[in-house]
Amino acid sequence: MNLESFLLMRSEIGLLAILLLLIIFEIFSNKKQKAAVIPFAIILLAINTALGFLPLAAGELFGGMFRTNALLYFFKTTLSLGVLILLLQSADWLKEKVVDENKASEFFMLLISSLLGTYFMISAGDFLMFFIGLELATLPVAALVAYDTYKRISAEGAVKYILSSALASGASLFGISLLYATTGTIYFESMAEILASSNLAILGFIFFFSGLAFKISLAPFHFWTADVYEGAPINVASYLSVISKGAAVLILMILLFTVFKVLMPVWNNIIYAVIIATMFIGNLFAIRQQNLKRFLAYSSIAQAGFILLGLMSVDQLGATTIVYFVAVYIFSNLGAFGVVQAVSSFSDKENINDYEGLYRTNPKLSLLMMLALFSLAGIPPLAGFFGKFFLYTAAASKGYYILVFIAVVNATISLYYYLLVVRAMFLRQSDQAIPYFRSPFYMRLGLILAAIGILVAGVYSPLYDYIFSISNTFLN
């Protein structure tokens, strides 16, 4: 293996280098310098993200276990950008609460390991690599969920997460073994050629799918979501809802469109039912939530249902739209979680009622929250509108008009509960409104980046057209 082909793993190597540098920093820094790990890690990740904008050739490594192409590379850069925004938004929380306990560099190491896991997971060329990536992406997050060690709810969330994810991984692994039993291979490409529609293959697929459905929190595998989000620190909940969900959606799409294409008549019906169940459950439960973290948890379940609409068109259009929507969704959700984080670290308040009158005291934060929520609800000219409309288009292109109709009904339901938050911030006035505060520099930068994404990613059409031009790279 020469250097050139080794550089196909540039993004992964970059993350590994960051991890090593963080360890070295941890060893050689004294107690006073510990806080410096925050800008250090952020700058390193920013450099790695910036490098992601350089072009990279497509190719395979390790005999096809690892593969990369323009679409995966674009997606990795998007995830990296998302984590960068997330780190910016968490910097303040780390400085206030975590540095004193001497745990700040672990936070970065765990988060970046998990990101590395998602990279390997989406770049996998066989099921072994996929599984290793999946575990690497999952396990560090369990530790992160329990980061507020002395909070009971946080520990409870972590236990819930690790148990459910162990079960889900087990189910996935069992499904993979059944698929291996029918085809005798674990490589995606050769399995795509050999796999035929047999009962064993279908069973294997269903087990495999339920494991991934857990990661994406699709109904009926969504039960862990709200509790874990509520228990976890806000930035970890935010990571779960955008990064790990987005990566799982992408690999699900790649596998459905290539390896499991022959089983399409089967998975089409499954996805159809799962979409409807996920959207309704997410939306109807979100209406009743008071805690913003639980609220965003159910909203993100509903959003997952929308994302799957793109799977219904098994073609380039669906693939493009899913990647585009995930990118847009990352910005929108990070915007919303970022505001919750900012308000929470100032005032420790996380309920919708606490936001009453927020506009009159903190207009900019409220405005950003409204933009993020409207983008999630799909209101033009924000990016979320374009994402959703194109998802409808993808599903309608194969004639699933009834499904699209159900989806638009759900979009209207979701608008209701997003408006409840807007109502609290803008329409209500309160004597106990959260007083004016100015967020620290990193937080503001993180929020501004999210806002730019929300405002620009939709109206600026070349982004979508670019994804379209690279999205056929895995569809043969």
Partner: protein
């Protein structure tokens, strides 16, 4: 920059100017009034430019421009106007400018009020100039969503619930509409061409009748909900009653016209066979809406509710006329849209002025206002008379044209419906005359009303701005209806 895109860009610039430069009410309203004044001047200029261009240019749309937006989906930012859009743009500009004058004294969060109002207007203007389904849909939603804040923050009464109901019903309708639009889009290659969102390219395609029958009602209802089609009108009375004055004006005067315009330009024009097959069903609904709205208005005790129900009645008449499928009725429908837009805006403005002084909108508590507020009283009487169709004002011209057109139809069913609908004029006279008589004439109902402040200069300006076109249309309808009739030609070719 072309003459049409400016209608979208100028409001955006004003919004930016307001965001960054306006410090208090005075600066906010100064920026708004200047900006909307420019917008108004542009609209007047557009009418003359259009007439000049039309003399030499026989295309369906003039001042066209086409820029590719989303290449993958063949989405374009394509714009153009015909006479129908031009008069709607003019209507919007007038009502908007008057609305800014009427909101002169808004005290709570003035900057945000004008920002929302003007952001909304960019959506409305964009909607009227678009000739691409997707772009049009985007502008439509931009026009609807600021309403939530406008009613919710600056409204009165049960404002939160009214705002939520209005927003959810209108956005729900637009969600249904998006399915209809996708249906049209994926059938636009029925003759083998590429998929397209362009209205005039789709009009060249023969969409299969089965598809038309499915997607026509979705598209029709999607637009008609904002045009107060019975039984989807329920957002309108509570929404208008709770909204602040300028917002009621703009909503009833302009936004509800988006419904009729969309029904005509999208649903009927692109899906002609579907339109014919579903005509009877929607005709009955809209005829029922005319009668129901009129009787509903008679029963109300609150001035704003009277006007809201009257709007349901008058806008159902627009849909009714559109579904009559002949040139005269269509001309009438557009004239009715214009006339109702101006008159209902005047009514809401006047109600706002009376309410601002007496703090009540209950008919039974008001009386003899004419004696203390002669200017407002006089305009109120004029508006009432114009509303019920007195010759010399726009209302008469519009309704007359609608009924003449509707009755031309040889079909017995339609003639009977027309006769039923004509009877609504009598009911309109009942509620208008009763209301005007009770609150304006007679003895002063409350001694405290003696010293009510007279109309201020900005209130007068707003009212006169609206009154001038009402009289112009009433006295000189011929030029306008000729201009509109010319633009109906493509619709006639496609639908008859």
């Amino acid at each position: 920059m072309d003459i049409l895109s400016l209608f979208v860009i100028v409001p955006i610039l004003i919004v930016l100017a307001l965001t960054f430069f306006a410090k208090d009410l005075k600066q906010a309203r100064l920026i708004s009034v200047v900006g909307m004044g420019i917008q108004f001047a542009m609209a007047i200029n557009l009418i003359f430019a259009y007439l000049k261009e039309r003399a030499v240019n026989t295309d369906i749309m003039v001042f066209t421009k086409d820029v590719v937006w989303y290449e993958t989906f063949n989405i374009h930012y394509s714009i153009g106007v015909d006479a129908i859009s031009v008069v709607m743009i003019a209507l919007t500009a007038v009502v908007l400018l008057a609305g800014v004058f009427i909101s002169w004294k808004i005290d709570d969060l003035p900057k945000e009020f004008f920002i929302s109002l003007i952001a909304l207007s960019s959506g409305v203007f964009g909607f009227f100039i678009s000739t691409d389904l997707f772009t049009m849909f985007v502008f439509y939603e931009i026009a609807v969503i600021p309403m939530y804040l406008l009613i919710g923050i600056w409204g009165s009464g049960p404002k939160e619930d009214s705002a939520m109901k209005l927003t959810l019903m209108l956005m729900g309708a637009s969600a249904v509409l998006s399915v209809g639009i996708l249906g049209i889009y994926f059938n636009s290659n029925a003759d083998g061409g590429p998929l397209t969102f362009n209205i005039f390219e789709i009009a060249q395609v023969n969409i299969p009748v089965a598809a038309q029958n499915i997607f026509y009602p979705l598209t029709f209802i999607g637009f008609a909900v904002i045009g107060a089609l019975f039984p989807f009108h329920t957002w309108s009375p509570s929404g208008h009653a709770s909204a602040p004055t300028a917002v009621s004006m703009l909503h009833a005067g302009v936004l509800m016209k988006l419904g009729g315009y969309g029904v005509f330009r999208i649903a009927m024009y692109l899906l002609p066979e579907g339109a014919l097959n579903w005509a009877d069903f929607f005709l009955i609904l809209s005829a029922f809406g005319v009668i129901y709205g009129a009787f509903g208005a008679v029963m109300q005790k609150d001035l704003k509710y009277v006007n809201a129900y009257a709007s349901v009645s008058h806008l159902s008449l627009v849909l009714f006329a559109l579904l009559m499928f002949n040139k005269t009725a269509w001309t009438g429908a557009i004239l009715q849209s214009l006339s109702h837009g101006l008159l209902t805006a005047m009514f809401f403005a006047l109600i706002g002025m009376v309410y601002g002084r007496t703090h009540t909108r209950e008919i039974s508590k008001l009386g003899g206002i004419m004696k203390v507020l002669p200017f407002i009283g006089a305009i109120y009487v004029i508006t009432g008379l114009a509303y019920l169709g007195l010759p010399g004002f726009s209302g008469f011209v519009a309704e007359m044209t609608v009924f003449v057109g509707a009755f031309q139809h040889p079909d017995l069913f339609r003639r009977i419906l027309t006769i039923v609908v004509v009877s609504s004029i009598v009911v309109t006279a009942v509620y208008i005359l009763r209301m005007v008589g009770k609150i304006m004439m007679g003895p002063l109902s409350n001694e405290e009303y003696k010293d009510l402040p007279k109309a201020t200069w900005f209130e007068k300006t707003g009212l006169i701005l609206l009154l001038i076109p009402v009289i112009l249309i009433g006295v000189l309808p011929l030029g306008l209806s000729e201009m509109i009739k010319e633009s109906l030609q493509p619709f006639l070719e496609r639908l008859l």
